[in-house]
């Protein structure tokens, strides 16, 4: 299923689909992971990184599902090895579903990561964990309304007691098998930026690998994030592709300003 640079497979497990768990630190990802997989777990390190990760599997509604537990991160900006692993797996591991575990006691903080994930992929589910703690604090959360506003399924859980885990499996199943087609509302960044994004997206059209959102890529390039270019190069190498994000079109069609994108362009040009 998924090989190469971002392995998700488990030896001897013939998976129907792969779901990945992302989330802020300490939101209960590993507890959800344990509740989903029971004892069917494997731990190890990411190739070439000191970041530990766990993989496991379960069966639900006749399907075998591989689950990957990512390190806790506040964002996918690749500021740390943990963030980089999380971003690279969500982007290039091409999981069938990305589950964002959010802390119901401080939801607002957690939505930053949710929105970042939704820029990469619409195939996502929010797991609103620590619901018991939120209730103890007297907080009332309207999961349906949140699902409406985000455009993706939201499942309330209290993972340490198993509450909501079956519903979570149902939602993961439905999104993985396209029984539900999430339609997240894109975050917009104002006229000026949107014009630049559009222009970049058009130039990226003929260059980019399948499954990676061109809008997301355009935004990262405008942010001047060279690590994303490096990640794509690695991905293409691992997949045995000759080409990379190095089309002459990129530099011809779009001339980055002084700061934005300059680093990325340099990285692209610097490619052997």
């Amino acid at each position: 299923m998924i090989q190469g640079y971002y392995p998700a497979g488990i030896k001897g497990v013939d998976a129907d689909y792969v779901a990945v768990l992302a989330g802020n630190p300490n939101t209960g990802k590993s507890t959800v992971f344990n509740a989903l997989t029971g004892l069917n777990q494997h731990t190890g390190n990411w190739p070439g990184k000191t970041v530990a990760h766990a993989r496991g599997y379960y069966r639900h509604r006749g399907k075998t599902v591989i689950i990957v537990d990512l390190p806790g991160t506040y964002s996918l900006s690749a500021n740390s090895p943990e963030e980089e692993v999380a971003r690279d797996f969500i982007c290039f591991g091409q999981p069938d579903v990305t589950v964002v575990i959010a802390d119901a006691t401080c939801l607002e903080r957690n939505l930053n990561l949710v929105l970042q994930v939704l820029e990469i992929t619409p195939k996502a589910v929010v797991c609103l964990n620590l619901m018991d703690e939120a209730e103890k604090k007297g907080l009332r959360l309207d999961a349906e309304r949140l699902a409406d506003e985000l455009g993706i399924p939201v499942v309330p859980t209290a993972a340490h007691t198993g509450r909501g885990i079956k519903q979570l499996k149902d939602r993961i199943h439905a999104v993985a098998l396209n029984e539900i087609l999430p339609r997240p509302k894109p975050v917009t960044y104002g006229k000026e930026l949107e014009a630049a994004v559009q222009q970049l997206e058009a130039s990226l059209q003929s260059i980019y690998v399948d499954g990676i959102s061109r809008r997301w890529l355009a935004l990262r390039l405008l942010e001047g994030d060279p690590s994303v270019v490096e990640a794509i190069r690695q991905y293409n190498l691992a997949e045995g592709r000759q080409g990379g994000p190095c089309g002459s079109e990129y530099s011809a069609d779009y001339r980055p300003g002084r700061r934005t994108g300059a680093g990325a362009e340099k990285a692209i040009r610097g490619r052997a």
């Binding site: 802020n24 630190p25 506040y74 964002s75 900006s77 500021n79 802390d103 006691t105 401080c106 607002e108 903080r109 930053n112 942010e223 001047g224 994030d225 700061r259």
Partner: protein, 78 residues
Amino acid sequence: MTAGRSLADLPVGAASIVMELRAVGSTRRRLLDLGFVPDTAVEAVRRSPMGDPTAYQIRGAVIALRKEDADAVLVRPI
């Protein structure tokens, strides 16, 4: 335009409101990702014995910032 104080000068135990970020590029992005968004309440909860870094309670989490990053966060009184 109000002149803000730097978050780094906030005494432990005191609270304030984030007003603006005097940072660009990846530092700005990182501060925003950590929750240092304008109009957010922030409290200094602990300072390391060496005086740096300081732990801040913000948006339901405790986040440690080095002085040079906290300097870039302008705050106003609540």
